[in-house]
């Protein structure tokens, strides 16, 4: 018995150490980016366009570009994702069609981001003649974000007790009235959480926007949806690999702003989740 206990202690210690091995690099990366990036963050850095071959100035157009892309992505993926999840949970029976949709969601979630980039390029940029533009980039990112939104919405809908639907239907409400009044209101927290999470992923993606929207150097703001824009992740890629002699602190600063943006979105989703959980009545 003592030996078993000893073996357990050793095993647990090893597991703890491995976990530490995972945690420490995460903290190191964060620390490293924050410490070096902090020096770069000035008012000018955040609000000015890059100058002198990106060796001076700021990253304002890239920040605006990323925010625009997130907004565009949300506009396309949110309705489509939520509606198709509603279809799967509330309307679909176990038919071939439904199984095909589920298989498609699984498949979409696995497609590499660069393949989305290729697809977005041939379909939106070339075939539909949008050119490299905010519209094409947003559509590409939107399709990429769909699986996460659908999965999160599905889980949120499935978590709503079945009896709410029964009550509503038994009172003579139609399917859609039931979904709208007795299901969706209780699923919204889960939907929001999943959505914000998927958008934060989209914000950090580089590969899908490489050929669909991202501008190498465009020190002005876009005029329409058909303009190219700079974007934070691509800008970081450019100044750290493509342009020689950009001060390192610019790269760190860009990375820090990008991480801050993504973490801010995650934080929003965490707060939303906590807020709604407190109000939960069932």
């Amino acid at each position: 018995m003592n030996r078993a206990k000893l073996r357990q202690n050793i095993a647990f210690t090893v597991l703890g150490l491995i976990t530490l091995l995972v945690v420490v690099p995460i903290l190191l990366v964060l620390y490293y980016v924050i410490r070096h990036g902090w020096n770069a963050i000035t008012w000018e850095f955040l609000t000015a366009a890059p100058r002198n071959g990106m060796k001076e100035g700021g990253i304002y157009p890239a920040i605006v570009g990323t925010v625009l892309l997130i907004t565009g992505t949300m506009a396309f993926s949110l309705p489509l994702g939520i509606l198709s999840a509603i279809y799967l949970v509330e309307y679909a029976r176990d038919t071939l069609f439904t199984r095909l949709i589920k298989l498609s969601v699984v498949n979409l979630s696995g497609i590499p981001s660069i393949v989305y980039g290729l697809f977005g390029f041939t379909l939106f940029v070339v075939f539909m003649r949008m050119g490299a533009s905010i519209l094409a980039g947003s559509l590409t990112l939107a399709i990429m974000s769909l699986p996460v939104i659908i999965t999160a919405t599905k889980e949120a809908l499935e978590a709503v007790p079945m009896v709410y639907r029964e009550i509503s239907l038994s009172l003579g409400a139609t399917r859609w009235q039931t979904v709208r009044s007795c299901v969706l209101p209780y699923a919204i927290p889960g939907i929001l959480t999943g959505t914000v999470l998927s958008l934060s992923r989209a914000a950090g993606e580089t590969a899908p926007i490489l050929f669909t929207v991202a501008a190498f150097y465009l020190p002005r703001l876009p005029r329409s949806m058909f303009d190219q824009v700079m974007a934070l992740p691509y800008h970081l890629y450019v100044i750290s690999t493509q342009v020689p002699n950009v001060p390192e602190k610019f790269s760190f600063g860009t990375g820090l702003v990008l991480i801050a943006l993504v973490c801010l979105m995650n934080l929003v989703s965490i707060i939303l989740r906590a807020h709604f959980r407190k109000k939960k009545q069932w």
Partner: protein, 252 residues
């Protein structure tokens, strides 16, 4: 009672879950303004029968049904789900309230049926609560969440909620199984008073309750309708020995 007085009639009703047959050739008539008790041991198909009447069974994707259900002389197959469920309301076994206020619970039905006038909705809520005899208890707390009420109050709230959609028939699926004796008595009183203007069907495991409340009674056993008769007659001179055995507690 005469044929014309049947409000609901089933003809060779057969119900299945996957390949499991839970109801076999049910032929029964429900008369206007009666309280029909349905008794029988567990798994005899009582609840399935009840939920077949307002088509709640079809929510289960494995459910299949054969035969005809006639409501007011019309094959229910030709009536949309939402309309048949509005005409035939149901009270579930455990009190099931929506996690909103008492008022909103009752107003929900009228609202989905397109009553937009706020005044009319308020009026309906009040009428329904009065008809279910809970108005006096609840009138000052209409804004409180329905989940805060006791089980008995919740169940009578559910009755009021069903009354608010102005149905012709009310189904009860073991409505008192989660309630204490005093709440049970209140629900039973309510049913008796509603009998003046509604047709009611009561599924219950409690043979005593059926004998107290119902005018006629149907005995279901293993998916078959054994007999249906005046309650008083069935409890004193049942025509089938199995009914006698069940009522006197030999099994069940």
């Amino acid at each position: 009672m005469v044929e014309q007085n049947a409000i609901i009639k089933t003809i060779n009703l057969n119900c299945f879950y996957d390949n499991l047959q839970v109801l076999r050739d049910i032929n029964i008539e429900v008369y206007r303004n009666e309280i029909l008790g349905i008794i029988g041991p567990a798994n005899s198909g009582k609840t399935t029968f009840l939920r077949a009447l307002n088509r709640l069974n079809s929510l289960n994707i494995n459910y299949r049904q054969k035969g005809v259900i006639v409501f007011e002389g019309q094959n229910t197959q030709d009536i949309p789900d939402s309309l048949i469920r509005r005409k035939i309301g149901i009270i579930f076994a455990m009190p099931q309230v929506l996690p909103v206020s008492i008022y909103e619970n009752i107003a929900y039905g009228p609202k989905v049926h397109g009553i937009r006038d706020k005044h009319r909705v308020e009026q309906l809520v009040e009428e329904s609560l009065k008809k279910a005899f809970v108005w006096d208890e609840l009138k000052d707390r209409l804004k409180t969440p329905a989940t805060k009420l006791s089980g008995g109050q919740q169940q009578r709230l559910c009755i009021a909620r069903t009354l608010a959609i102005e149905p012709d028939v009310i189904l009860y699926d073991e409505p008192c199984s989660g309630l204490d004796p005093i709440s049970t008595a209140k629900v039973e009183d309510t049913m008796s008073l509603l009998a003046q203007s509604y047709t009611q069907i009561l599924v219950t495991n409690n043979t005593k309750q059926a004998s107290r409340v119902s005018h006629r009674c149907a005995f279901f056993l293993m998916g078959e309708l054994v007999e249906v008769d005046q309650t008083r007659k069935m409890y004193t001179h049942p025509s089938d020995p199995r009914t006698d055995d069940y009522i006197t507690g030999k099994f069940g």
